[in-house]
Amino acid sequence: MTELTVRESINQALAEEIERDERVFLYGEDVGDYGGLYQVTEGLQEQLGDDRVFDTPLSETTLGGTVVGAALTGSRPIVEIMFGDFLSVIADHLINYAAKMHFNYGDGTSVPLVVRTTYGGGDQFGLHHSQDPMPWFQNVPGLKMVAPATPYDYKGLLKAAVRDDDPVVFFENKQRYEVSGDVPDEDYTVPIGEADIKRRGEDMTIVAIGGMVDVAMEAADELDAQGYDCEVIDPRTVMPLDKETILESVKKTHGLTIVHESAQFGGMGGEIAAEAADEALYYLDAPVKRVAAPFTPVPFAENLEQSYLPNADDVEAAVIDALEG
């Protein structure tokens, strides 16, 4: 084990996968010599060669189209989209192309691409550089979405995404690049489609997505001090969802709180709540709570942005509200 930051664990995963398989390459805006806007790809071009790591025009249309074409013809490309907000530009290629080609071919062909992108607020970058775009894609069958929380999961899931035969959008939370944790020195992957129980507890199930896992863990610590024993589940793969792990937990704790950074309305929280209502209603002893952003664009001013983003106090209050009424 070595202690790595999230940034380092992604960098290592990329280097190892590009090294391991000659069909893998990494491209995008500024990912080469400069090392990427967030310096995630720092040193990779020098290490692996400019034929495996290279810069592109500022054209997400080209990135979205070419990554599909390369994946359909024997390559296993990784493309970096600088901000998740810009996924709107490649939405056509993700929704209508990448996600649907396995369905549209009769011979088992799929589209083994990885789109790496950043998401989330907290930097006062304003309404077009701070969004959590996951809900835009959550009803697109054929697309996979991965949003890890720990360095271990970042590395293992990115490696799994590169090896996966289906198209994967890999979400990196901007606020968590410096988070550190233990990462094995040997090669490993974390399976796509498998949730992880980040903390065991008996009184409440908290499902938290991506950057919100740390927030939920912090809240769980505070709640523990007040005598509430929370279980924190990290789906890790947002689509397709490991519902079974979540429902098993709800049946045990009899409570459910969901935390994500995108707006509450139309978000994954509603889906998870509906699944619980469908499959575990009679196990629930408390109202289902969602802790998420309000239904407004991500605001710029510091106090507005902080109020927009869910935090540990919000989670704590929601859990107490659910349990105490």
Binding site: E22, R23, F25, D51, T56, P57, S59, T61, T62, G64, G65, T66, V67, V68, G69, A70, A71, L72, T73, G74, S75, P77, D92, H93, N96, Y97, K100, M101, H102, F103, N104, Y105, G106, D107, G108, T109, S110, P141, G142, K144, D164, D165, D166, I192, G193, E194, T237, M239, P240, L241, D242, K243, E244, E275
Partner: protein, 327 residues
């Protein structure tokens, strides 16, 4: 000019395209076909000559109207059952034949979004470079597609990276019901829109020999590392955009184009050159008609697919019908 045996083969493909689509029209009018026909009658020389110029393991991305790519790379049975969506169709009824992909036959799957395949084709070119493969990619698209940002971004990237891609613009003058030149801000040739530094050719799309020669040259350049070419083939479709849409083009315009019919032009030439005689042509017509008819017979009697085939969503993860992972 192609070798004699190839010229015969090219003519067989022209006849196949024409006879097939006339049969589609007849069946559609008689008893209906589930897939709405978007016929290429009148502009077959571009698809046939264009496809013929590539090797079998080069990748081709057709436009929705490039029927030749499908007819020349798939079996007739696959094409026709594809239109009926029956059990034996390549995707067992999951998709129409229009946008079908086949890794085996090196057809890049496309989507119902006109022009979204342009950068995908460039990605296939990028892939060939990355994998050090000798493959060229050809992409067919219409004048309407050329008005999208896809067109400019695809050409820019292919050109700046010298990727082995051949862009074949099937300029049939009409974008559904809109005359192309009403919505395109160039004087004469749509390829002028691409100011990029790549070779451009404007050619007679009615003459299959011209198409074959032009595309072959572009394929050769691409294969030898000289990068992409944009070929604009001027052509025309005799039928409306799709069979549900009423014809509103000028009858005179259609008749003028029919005077330079691509099948007829080539037929005259190979007869004049003494390559084949009338009997050969009659025999080929009869043979192809028979094959086409029997493919339709097969499709019309083929059972419908089982419902479970529509859950082909992920290759690597099993899910239930509401998207939950099956563990």
């Amino acid at each position: 000019m192609a070798r004699d045996s190839e010229r015969e083969e090219v003519h067989e493909y022209l006849l196949l395209n024409r006879i097939f689509e006339e049969k589609v029209l007849e069946e559609y009018e008689d008893s209906g076909i589930p897939e709405l026909p978007h016929l290429s009658i009148g502009q077959e020389a571009v698809g046939v000559g264009g496809t013929f110029a590539f090797e079998a393991d080069d990748w081709l991305a057709p436009s929705l109207r490039t029927r030749a790519v499908m007819l020349m790379r798939l079996s007739l049975r696959d094409v026709v059952t594809g239109m009926y969506g029956t059990k034996s169709s390549p995707t067992e009824g999951r998709t129409t034949q229009h946008h079908l992909g086949s890794s085996e036959n090196h057809i890049l799957g496309t989507t119902g979004l006109i022009g979204s395949h342009l950068n995908v084709a460039v990605g296939a070119g990028l892939s060939a470079r990355q994998l050090d493969e000798d493959r060229v990619t050809g992409v067919f698209f219409g004048d309407g597609a050329a008005t999208r940002g896809e067109f400019h971004t695809a050409i820019n990237y292919a050109a700046v990276e010298d990727l082995p891609v051949v862009f074949i613009l099937e300029n049939n003058q009409w974008i559904e019901e809109t005359p192309a030149m009403d919505v395109i801000a160039v004087e004469e040739n749509i390829s002028e829109m691409a100011g990029h530094d790549i070779p451009k050719e404007v050619i007679d799309g009615q003459d299959v020999d011209v198409v074959l020669e032009s595309v072959s040259g572009a394929v050769e350049r691409a294969r030898s590392g000289e990068g992409p070419t944009l070929i604009e083939a001027k052509t025309y479709r005799y039928r409306p955009h799709a069979e549900v849409i009423p014809e509103r083009r000028d009858e005179k315009e259609i008749e003028e184009w029919k005077e330079r019919d691509p099948v007829h032009l080539h037929e005259e030439r190979i007869l004049d050159d003494g390559l084949v005689d009338e009997e050969w042509i009659e025999a080929k017509r009869a043979e192809i008609t028979e094959e086409v008819n029997s493919a339709f017979e097969f499709a019309k009697n083929d059972p419908m697919p089982a419902e479970d085939v529509m859950y082909q969503v992920y290759k690597d993860t099993e899910i239930d019908e509401n998207g939950g992972v099956v563990r």
